[in-house]
C-alpha cells in the first residue's frame, strides 16, 4: 500500500505542474496589457523558451554486473516483463536560437526483469530465518527477479538539432521507493550444490532454495542518460532514452554478491508538450 501513496503524490505533482504551466501561458496575455511592472516582465523573460511536457512509456533493460563475472557461465533466459514510467519535466532553452537548454524532470519508473543463468562458484546466501542460512559458493542454476520502483530526478542538457529532433543528455538521481511486486531482488537457486563458506566447505546438494536480497539494496542510485525526442505533431513527440546506472545497487556492506550490479535500462514512450 505504501507504494500507492507515492504514485498518488506523483500524479498530483504532475497535475499541479501542468496547471501552473497553463497559468503561465495566461501570463503572456497580461504582458500585452498596459500595466507591467518590472518583476512581471522579468518573470516573462525567464519563461521565454520554457517548455513543459509529460511522458509515459515502456521501460526495458537489465540489472546486471558489468562486465559479466566469470561466475556466470551461461544466460539461460531473460524476461523484460511489463515495466512503465511516467515523467514530467521543465525544459528551459537559452540563447537567441534556443538550441541549447536545461531540463529538470521528475520520473516515476519501474526497473525490473527476470533472468535465468547457469553459474559456477556464484556466492550465494540461501535464507530461512535469521539463524538459518547457508552461505557459500553455489554451482548450478539461478533465477533472479528484480522489481524496483524508483522516483528519479534527471537534470539534463538539451539540444534542439532541428525543428523535429531534440536530444538530451545528463545525470539523474534515483530514489528506491519499493516494489510493485512481492519484493525487490529475489529468486531461486536450483539443481546444483552449495559449499558451506568456501569451495572447500561442506558439500550440500540443492534441489531448490529461495533467496532474497531486497533488504540489502541501496536506496539511491545515480547514473547518466542519453535520449532523443522526435516531434510528430505540435504537442506530441515520440521519445527514447538509455539510462546507465553508475553505482552498485547494493549497499557497501553487502558482501554476498561479490560483484557490483548496475541498472541499465532503455525506455520508449510518447511525450505531450504543453
Amino acid at each position: 500500500m505504501k507504494h500507492y501513496k507515492h504514485i498518488i503524490a506523483f500524479v498530483l505533482l504532475i497535475c499541479s505542474l501542468s496547471l501552473s504551466a497553463q497559468e503561465k501561458t495566461e501570463g503572456e496575455g497580461t504582458l500585452m496589457g498596459p500595466i507591467v511592472d518590472q518583476t512581471e516582465y522579468a518573470k516573462f523573460a525567464f519563461l521565454r523558451g520554457v517548455e513543459y511536457s509529460i511522458r509515459v512509456g515502456y521501460e526495458i533493460g537489465g540489472t546486471s554486473p558489468m562486465p559479466l563475472p566469470a561466475e556466470i557461465r551461461k544466460i539461460e533466459g531473460f524476461k523484460p516483463g511489463m515495466h512503465f514510467y511516467v515523467e514530467g519535466n521543465v525544459n528551459k532553452s537559452f540563447g537567441l536560437k534556443h538550441k541549447w537548454g536545461l531540463l529538470l524532470g521528475l520520473r516515476l519508473e519501474q526497473k525490473g526483469m527476470s533472468t535465468k543463468a547457469q553459474v559456477k562458484n556464484y556466492f550465494m546466501r540461501m535464507e530461512g530465518d535469521k539463524d538459518e542460512d547457508i552461505e557459500g559458493p553455489f554451482t548450478g542454476h539461478v533465477e533472479t527477479k528484480v522489481e524496483n520502483l524508483y522516483l528519479s530526478i534527471p537534470l539534463l542538457v538539451t539540444f534542439k538539432a532541428s525543428d523535429r529532433w531534440k536530444l538530451r543528455f545528463g545525470p539523474y538521481y534515483s530514489h528506491l521507493l519499493g516494489s510493485l511486486d512481492e519484493d525487490n531482488f529475489y529468486g531461486t537457486a536450483y539443481d546444483g550444490y552449495i559449499r558451506e563458506g568456501d569451495p572447500t566447505g561442506g558439500y550440500i546438494e540443492v534441489t531448490s532454495a529461495n533467496y532474497d536480497f531486497s533488504e540489502n539494496l541501496r536506496r539511491w542510485n545515480i547514473g547518466v542518460q542519453f535520449g532523443a525526442e522526435w516531434k510528430v505533431l505540435k504537442h506530441l513527440s515520440v521519445a527514447a532514452d538509455l539510462q546507465w546506472g553508475l553505482n552498485d545497487i547494493f549497499k557497501n556492506d553487502f558482501k554476498v554478491i561479490t560483484f557490483n550490479m548496475y541498472p541499465i535500462y532503455g525506455n520508449i514512450g510518447i511525450a505531450y508538450i504543453f
Binding site: G62, G128, E132, T200, Y203, I204, T207
Partner: protein, 411 residues
C-alpha cells in the same frame, strides 16, 4: 513492427549482447579427493573394494581393512582422482609407509586448480566396522559422547561406545543434517542428544524438532530424533534426506533378540510434511534389521565390490519391497508390542523383541554368515513416520541399555 515483437526483438538483443560477454571459465576452486585406489594392497587384508569413493564432506580417506591380519608395516602407493585441475601432494601413486607406528595414517594436501584453496586429508588404513560381541550379547549403555564442531561452528554431540577399552563409533545420528540449517542451535536443541538421568548413568534422548524456515521450504520442516548403527552423509540431506542415512555394519553372529529400556513423551500436534495438523497420534519406533548387502539379483555392486547398504528408503521390509534382501527384523512399533498403557511412562520401561524372519528367508546360512555376507543395524526414532517428515513436535524418546543377544556359537 508492433510493440510485442519490438519487445521480443529487444530481449533477444539483450540476451545476445550479454551472452557475448561471457568470460572464460575461471580455474576450479574446489580441492576434493573424489576416489582413492590401492592397487597394491593384498585383497586378503582389504575389506570391500580397492577403489574407495570419498565423500566431499569428509577429510578422511578410510581404506577399510582387517587390521588383525595386517603386517605392522606396509608400503602402499595409493592413487587418487581429484577435482579437475587440482594437484595432490605427495603425488598420486607415491609409495608411502603405513605402519603401526604412524597409526597406519598419511597426510595429503589437495590444492585447487586456482591455487587459492586447499584441503588436508588423512588417508588411513582403518579397521572395518564389525558388530563386536562379548560372549553371546552386546550391551550398549550409552555412557560416552564428545562434542563435534563443524567448520561452520555448528556444534552437536556424537555418542559412542567403548568396547573392551576401545572407542567404538558405530552409532550415528542425523544431527549433521540439522546442523546445516541450524548453525546457531545450542547443543541441547539438537534432535539427538546425550543426557543425564538414564536408567543407569546417561542415556540417549531423541526429540522431534522443527527445522525452521529453510527446512520448510524443501518440505522437510521437521526432524525426528534418530539414532542408528551406520553412517550419515549430509550431501543428500536437503535433496533426498532418506538416502543420507546408511544403515548397518558387518556381523558374524546371528541375532536373536533386540532389547532396550525406554521412556516416551508424546508431542501434542501430529503434523505432516507441510506442518498441517492431522488427527493422529505420534508413536516412537525402534527396529533391528539383519540383511544381506546385495541388490535384488543377489549381487554386490558390480563395478565397485562394495556392500550395498540399506538407507532410509529401504531399511524396512515394506519399503525394501522386491529387493528381498532383508533376512530378519525385530520391530517395536507393531500393534502387539507397543502398548498404549505402558507407552508414556515416568520410569524406564523394558522391552524385548525377538527377530523374525522376513519371507522368503526362513533360516540363516551359517557359512555365508562366517564369510561376512550379513549386515546388522539398529534404529531408534522419536516419531515413527519421521522419515517422511510426519510427527509431533516435542515427542521425546529416551533410550538406554540397548542389547542384542546372539545365537550361541557351536564350537
Amino acid at each position: 513492427m508492433n510493440i510485442k515483437s519490438t519487445i521480443i526483438f529487444a530481449s533477444l538483443l539483450c540476451i545476445s549482447a550479454l551472452s557475448s560477454c561471457i568470460q572464460d571459465e575461471a580455474p576450479n576452486a574446489e580441492a576434493d579427493i573424489l576416489t582413492c585406489t590401492v592397487p597394491d594392497l593384498d585383497p586378503m587384508y582389504l575389506y570391500g573394494s580397492e577403489t574407495i569413493e570419498v565423500s566431499k564432506n569428509s577429510n578422511e580417506v578410510n581404506i577399510l581393512v582387517f587390521l588383525s591380519k595386517m603386517p605392522s608395516e606396509i608400503q602402499l602407493s595409493p592413487t587418487f582422482t581429484t577435482t579437475e585441475g587440482a594437484t595432490i601432494t605427495p603425488t598420486s601413486g607415491s609409495t608411502l609407509t603405513f605402519s603401526k607406528n604412524n597409526g597406519y595414517k598419511q597426510t595429503y594436501t589437495v590444492t585447487s586448480q586456482s591455487g587459492k584453496y586447499f584441503r588436508n586429508y588423512t588417508v588411513q588404513l582403518k579397521e572395518a566396522n564389525v558388530f563386536k560381541v562379548n560372549g553371546d550379547s552386546r550391551i550398549f549403555s550409552f555412557e560416552y559422547s564428545s562434542i563435534f564442531k563443524e567448520p561452520t561452528n555448528a556444534q552437536y554431540q556424537k555418542i559412542y561406545d567403548v568396547f573392551e577399552g576401545e572407542k567404538d563409533t558405530i552409532w550415528e545420528s542425523a544431527n549433521a543434517g540439522f546442523a546445516i540449517t541450524n548453525k546457531k542451535a545450542s547443543i541441547d536443541a539438537y534432535p539427538t542428544t546425550h543426557v543425564d538421568n538414564g536408567k543407569g548413568g546417561k542415556c540417549v534422548c531423541l526429540r522431534t524438532s522443527l527445522v525452521g524456515a529453510l527446512g520448510k521450504m524443501v518440505n522437510m520442516p521437521m526432524a525426528a530424533g534418530n539414532f542408528f548403527i551406520g553412517s550419515f552423509d549430509k550431501s543428500n540431506a536437503m535433496k533426498s534426506a532418506l538416502t543420507s542415512t546408511k544403515f548397518g555394519i558387518l556381523t558374524y553372529r546371528n541375532p536373536l533378540s533386540f532389547n532396550f529400556s525406554y521412556k516416551f513423551k508424546r508431542g501434542d500436534k501430529f503434523t505432516n510434511e507441510k506442518l498441517e495438523v492431522l488427527s493422529e497420534l505420534d508413536y516412537p519406533d525402534a527396529y533391528a534389521v539383519l540383511y544381506r548387502p546385495f541388490d535384488k539379483d543377489g549381487k554386490r555392486d558390480s563395478t565397485i565390490v562394495n556392500p550395498i547398504l540399506l538407507d532410509g528408503t529401504s531399511v524396512l521390509p515394506e519399503k525394501s519391497g522386491a529387493r528381498g534382501n532383508i533376512v530378519a527384523c525385530a520391530k517395536w512399533n507393531n500393534k502387539d508390542i507397543v502398548n498404549e498403557d505402558n507407552l508414556e511412562t515416568a520410569e524406564f520401561h523394558h522391552v524385548s523383541i525377538p527377530f523374525k524372519f522376513v519371507a522368503p528367508y526362513s533360516e540363516i546360512n551359517h557359512k555365508e554368515l562366517k564369510d561376512g555376507q550379513y549386515y546388522l543395524t539398529v534404529v531408534f526414532t522419536s516419531s515413527y513416520k519421521g522419515d517422511y517428515f510426519y510427527g509431533a513436535e516435542g515427542s521425546t524418546l529416551y533410550i538406554d541399555e540397548a542389547t542384542i543377544t546372539f545365537e550361541p556359537e557351536n564350537e
